[in-house]
Symmetry: C2
Subunit: 408 residues, 2 copies
Amino acid sequence: MHETIDRRRRQLLAGSAGALAAGMTGATAGLVGWSPRAWSAEPAKPKPLPEYVAWKDAESLIVHSASTIETKRSAFGTSLITPAERLFIRNNLPAPDPSYVADRNSWELTVEGVKNPRKLTLAQLKTLGLETVPMVLQCSGNGRGFFPHKPSGTPWTVGAAGCVFWSGVPVKAVAQALGGVAEGMRFITSTGGEKLPEGLDPKGVVVERSVPLSALEDALLAWEMNGAPIPLAHGGPLRLIVPGYTGVNNVKYVKRLAFTREETDAKIQKTSYRISPIGTKGDPSQPSVWEMNVKSWVNYPYPGMGPLPAGWVQIHGVAFGGTQAVKRVEVSLDGGRSWKEARFVGPDLGRYAWRQFVFQAELKPGAYTVTSRAIDAKGNVQPEERMENDQGYVNNSWRDHAVQVTVA
Amino acid sequence: MHETIDRRRRQLLAGSAGALAAGMTGATAGLVGWSPRAWSAEPAKPKPLPEYVAWKDAESLIVHSASTIETKRSAFGTSLITPAERLFIRNNLPAPDPSYVADRNSWELTVEGVKNPRKLTLAQLKTLGLETVPMVLQCSGNGRGFFPHKPSGTPWTVGAAGCVFWSGVPVKAVAQALGGVAEGMRFITSTGGEKLPEGLDPKGVVVERSVPLSALEDALLAWEMNGAPIPLAHGGPLRLIVPGYTGVNNVKYVKRLAFTREETDAKIQKTSYRISPIGTKGDPSQPSVWEMNVKSWVNYPYPGMGPLPAGWVQIHGVAFGGTQAVKRVEVSLDGGRSWKEARFVGPDLGRYAWRQFVFQAELKPGAYTVTSRAIDAKGNVQPEERMENDQGYVNNSWRDHAVQVTVA
């Protein structure tokens, strides 16, 4: 169950559609004169923050649409955590009414697929256990903006990600309190509590995701983010947190948590968030977008910042391993011809958090292609090439994330 | 140099004034019917947030004055970190003009007491090194509200504290870059860049503090807090961070950092922030308020929350060791008659951060006096009694921090 998506990728590429995708990738692999650039990183004209996230820091964010808001690459700091004001937004449905968080403790969750299924209020959940986990929250489509075939969906570059603390009750403790997971269940299936648009097939719009039962080990039902009740825009009052899994699997406003035999047949699971060959639609035979892969990128220098003065520069960025701890990061100043090990900065917050790295370099005037490459605890190396796929998911190509730097 | 304040306290108490103070403490030590209560925890009428911190979360805060704002005990979560919106404010001078942070990178710091003294801009500091440290920031007077003699100053209970990430350059790296610390220097003396009120002796108002040179090991010149540039209200663009030392030693808007032979003779160092016997003025012969001591308190249940329903409750709080890591926390439900070990929640962020603890208890109807007691890595135990002192500094009494809880 705990296969990485990179392993599943290899299985996919073994097929004919995969071979086609690999061929397309090869075409972009020439080193000289190659310039990594997102096809549409920022809207031409900055849009204002929508009302429901008016409390966010507008200067740190790129508003793609009312429900897709990206952190600027220049706005990631070196303090490990991403404050709520700078955290990206990606909602599959419009954010619910503020009444959802008017009386947080009375929020109800239905738990099914356990020996003693029942409804629990948030107040009751708060008596069953407590854990806190710092975790990279990353949209499945982060890095989509680097795909040359321009997939549909938001063209995120790096900013649909952040590292935040979540606090809540382990799903495991809830299952135990209700007599344990029923026999034969293989998935955790969670349903978001958003009001569904009328006149549409609910299965086509509901945010309902299934993750493998193995995720039970570290999953949380969280009510707190970064030391405050989870903001409505981020899924409060209650959000399922599946450490190491992409954003969509962390169901907001969770109203039902079920242990199930099969994956849900909701569209968002059945055909969306699948790794499908370019030009084809998603279907359940293809890998679902679950665990994140090993990834890193440089945040400073950042694209478009203008020439740097010659001399010492501290190149810094973030690195994480998805469900594995990240072990090492290397930095290249010459587009991947040579690599040197970077130093981690600050404490290790555990396998699901990112680490910040710094590489101190003395740069003479000239042009540099700066990028980074992470290696996880199992030896998985962040790849040079993206995994081509129709919807532009899980891009961890170090080449795509390179930054062109001019030193004057 | 790295003596804890508790050790220095014992030296103080060996004197006659100390014996008097110890006598006063004894008078409050009876267990039965004793009710820990701050003498003025909250102003009668909530005051609005001052303009310069209008971005903070008003509902989480108690505004004592424009420059003293406390986090409500109920507003500490379980995610380890304290978000900027909930972090306390204690400024010795009015917050500077917003122009201080208009062009952060051009902020200038004068470094003295090194082989090659010079001015450095923040942009230059950013090339010299990088480190990130999560740290408890706590006002020297946190817990003052529990002193029965009503010291002058803000009657904080627990909320003049938070745990935040700082990121910047190690002071050590700056000293090295300038040829090293000059011979014979024993202190790091830093000067805040606030504009001083006119017509007053500058020595009487300037925020200039000296800490022992041993603090060099982990001190930072920080430009970032919790993943964002340090807000003006918290000392941005540049703040000296001395991990393990009380708030006042972490000089805001730092414009001069000097390695010095002697402590500064500024009033804030010479006679303020001294542990002086009740009724006496501070003087340089008394211990300076430097390192924090081992401390913990319960945040849930919190005072005034009303009766809890009978059944399971998750008692949680924070614990830290000052300059030492915290090793263990115990919780008592009966005002200190018996203790049980609590469990730490979330990752260990290092010796200068706090840990969050939880203790799960099944409570029958009745009255409880709930408190906690931390033990640091060196075996120092959080004491039952506060260290009596005129100004009400460094209160770590577990008895003072107890919460009266009614279970219905």
